[in-house]
Amino acid sequence: MIDFSRNYFDLFGLPRRFRFDPAALDRAYRALQREVHPDRYAASPDAERRLALQSSARVNEAYSALKDPVARAHYLLSLDGGAPPDEAESALPVEFLERQLERREAVSDALAARDANALAALRAEVDAEAAREEQRVAELLDRNSDAERQTARAVLRELTFLAKLAADIDAMQAELDG
């Protein structure tokens, strides 16, 4: 079965870095699921079926943690110890917060006006900013030094905020879909 004490990078045989070949992750994920998925054990003794369920769930958990850049950054930082990033908005720079508050207002207005195009434009804006920050987080984390990790934590706080905003805009768009 899957060794639950191994970290997600080791589990997939990937380097412990923020940036890696995403195709390698997909390949390793599929190869592991081919071994442990419950469908492979439906005709097996109960003990094997239980192990398959636990192992397959673990592989899915690891895959989702590494596939999403924000989750991956959090996971990498958790592996390297140190306090988890402070999620409180008070920890964010004032300038960043002001920009996001303005944007939140624009999002609310677009929703009130049921303007799907405006929501899509705001979503694209958020995506662009998130992409820039993700690039910074990637560079900081892959330099693999404690000082850079501290900076990465700060950028990641902003990135997490943006991801939440993007998800909220998605939910509003879904609402407009009817």
Partner: protein, 620 residues
């Protein structure tokens, strides 16, 4: 019963006999059972050669009838002839916005709604079990023995209560359920394997009472569901109902008796089906009071009165695409599933939305059952070299817990790949609090009141601590059937509580036991013979699996371990030759237990092999 002919235990070959496995599409309007014969999935017809079984159950003066005989009597006996029971699965009366549409005598019991019939008060689970039992008997007669397993399909957008109700119905019908499989996923398997499809596909599945949209990536033998969405109360029935309402208005009819309602609904459906090939369809009926009805429904009128139903299917399509992070340009093909997709206005709307004509080169009534049969065949252990495909499915709706202020904390997000395990820590609110109440809900909204309540349970016996000091870890586990179980544990004291989620809308275990007993009393089967046959099927499965494991990975065991497993195997073979089903069940369980550690080591080896790169390279 072919399996009963095996009398010499030693005659059991290492390569096991083919296990009889079926796929069942339990539909709102029609149900089907299919199997794989000589490597090809086929639908099993009834004795008269008809592939479909109308999902209609009549509790008549002389017993239960299912399918065409029940259909023939529906307008005469509407209150005892249950159609579209799938719409009631896992639902309370208050959930049914369209309850008035059904002519039944509903009984508003806590949890799932029930119906008063001539044969007593029936739950939707019992009524569905009558349909499934008919299919099981059809399959056993056709295949010549008890079934080793069945894959039963459910709408992808079914929530936990609806899935659990379906599984309970299968249990009640005496079906060994290998898996609950999502209908659009089943269709994708049948379509994908048949056409060697690669790329991203959408499956648009409009059935009699449910709508699903699933987006899948088909790549190198992996069927990966990227997102699913839908409406579990939208289907062909609703189009019939629009025609029915139009007819009543057009002919200025007064409120109708249940018999006339059912008659007119049947006529509405016929007109709808007629419009698949014709530009207009007559609706003619003689009502109970002698009123003659003669109307003509044109394609134009039909399209205009059902316009918003068609639009209602496209909203979930947009949501599924957004969740998958895709646009229509990314979709290589749209597979159309479900009888209702024969309607020209549906095909037109889907074609316009995706900018390409949908794929209609398969039988929309049968493809789900065929896909389920292919999956059942593999899951039952009849996997061959060509069956090296893998299915990765998702849960349709987020799962969460109620927190302070009636808000929902999401634990497992929608479209998470299953199986999935997620845990979240909570703490106590008051000083000295010794119990917490856990309320499990499903849905996308932020407020508990807007989500479906799945279950409530309490974790008691937490040692008194200051507010916020206790650490309660709540773990959600969704298995490969998409069914949830929840456990809670206070980490500082180790206090635990666990439940399989079913109380709110499902049936209690006591209900199931009572119904099973009743169904056995009424069945003509000899219960003991059936129990033995089932124990033998299970024993053969475990014996064969153990032998295969010993053959391929026997080197993982030392002499002592090997001896213990051989002894358990011999004991199981011994009991297999006898007629005592209890002894056989016990011996099979002992063999299961004896191989537990061996199983873990074999899986280790498989995992190690998967990561050496050899297999990975072979897949690229």
């Amino acid at each position: 019963m072919a399996l009963l002919q095996i009398s010499e235990p030693d005659a059991l070959p290492v390569k096991p006999p083919r296990r009889l496995a079926v796929g069942i599409d339990l539909g709102t309007t029609n149900s089907l059972v299919a199997t794989v014969r000589h490597g090809i999935p086929v639908v099993l017809p009834d004795a008269d050669g008809r592939p479909l079984l109308p999902s209609i159950v009549r509790y008549g003066e002389n017993g239960v009838s299912v399918g065409y005989p029940a259909q023939a009597e529906q307008a005469r006996d509407p209150q005892n002839t249950i159609v579209s029971v799938k719409r009631l699965m896992g639902r309370g009366l208050s959930d049914l916005a369209d309850a008035r549409r059904f002519p039944y005598r509903f009984v508003d019991t806590p949890g799932m709604v029930r119906i008063a019939t001539r044969a007593g008060v029936k739950s939707p689970v019992e009524i569905s079990a009558d349909i499934l039992r008919t299919l099981r008997e059809r399959a056993e007669a056709s295949l010549g023995g008890p079934l080793a397993g069945a894959v039963v399909t459910v709408p992808a957008y079914f929530d936990d209560a609806q899935r659990q109700a379906t599984k309970d119905a299968a249990l009640l019908a005496g079906l060994p359920v290998l898996r609950l499989l999502n209908e659009p996923t089943a269709a994708a398997i049948a379509y994908g394997l048949d056409n060697a499809a690669e790329g991203i596909y959408a499956v648009y599945d409009l059935g009699g009472g449910t709508f699903d949209i699933s987006i899948l990536r088909l790549s190198k033998g992996v069927f990966e569901v990227l997102a699913t969405n839908g409406d579990s109360a939208l289907g062909g029935d609703d189009f019939d109902h629009r025609v029915y309402c139009w007819a009543i208005e057009d002919a200025q009819l007064p409120p109708l008796a249940p018999e006339d309602t059912r008659l007119l609904m049947v006529k509405a459906r016929e007109a709808k089906e007629n419009l698949t090939i014709h530009r207009s369809a007559p609706i003619g009926a003689v009502l109970a009071d002698g009123t003659k009805l003669e109307l003509t429904l044109t394609a134009e009128i039909f399209t205009s009165i059902t316009q918003n139903l068609v639009a209602k299917t496209l909203a979930p399509v947009r949501r599924a695409l957004r969740d998958a992070g895709l646009t229509t340009a990314d979709i290589k093909g749209v597979v159309m599933v479900g009888g209702a997709t024969r309607m020209p206005q549906i095909q037109k709307a889907v074609g316009e939305f995706f900018g390409a004509p949908p794929l209609t080169n398969l039988n929309p009534d049968q493809v789900v059952a065929l896909g389920a049969a292919i999956q059942a065949n593999v899951l039952a252990g009849n996997r061959t070299e060509t069956d090296d495909w893998l299915l990765l499915d998702v849960i349709p709706l987020s799962l969460g817990l109620e927190t302070m202020g009636g808000l929902v904390e999401k634990i497992v997000p929608r479209n998470a790949t299953i199986p999935v395990t997620r845990a979240q820590e909570f703490t106590t609110f008051k000083e000295g609090q010794t119990a917490i109440s856990v309320h499990v809900v499903q849905g996308e909204r932020d407020r508990v009141a807007d989500c479906r309540s799945l279950a409530r349970f309490e974790l008691r016996g937490i040692p008194p601590m200051p507010a916020g000091a206790a650490r309660v870890k709540v773990t959600f586990q969704v298995d490969a059937d998409g069914l949830l179980s929840v456990s809670a544990r206070e980490e500082t004291s180790g206090t635990e509580a666990a439940i399989v989620v079913k109380p709110s809308y499902g049936l209690s275990d006591a209900d199931i036991a009572r119904m099973l007993e009743e169904s056995f009393r009424h069945a003509a089967d000899d219960m003991a013979a059936r129990a033995l046959a089932e124990a033998q099927v299970e024993a053969d499965r475990v014996i064969a699996a153990t032998r295969r494991a010993l053959e391929t990975d026997g080197d993982l065991l030392d002499a002592g371990e090997r001896g213990a497993i051989d002894a358990a195997l011999d004991a199981a073979l011994q009991s297999r030759g006898g007629a005592d089903h209890r002894a056989l069940v016990a011996a099979t369980a002992a063999l299961n237990a004896a191989t537990a550690e061996f199983a873990a080591r074999r899986m280790d080896r498989g995992v190690a092999r998967a990561l050496t790169g050899r297999q990975i390279d072979a897949l690229t």
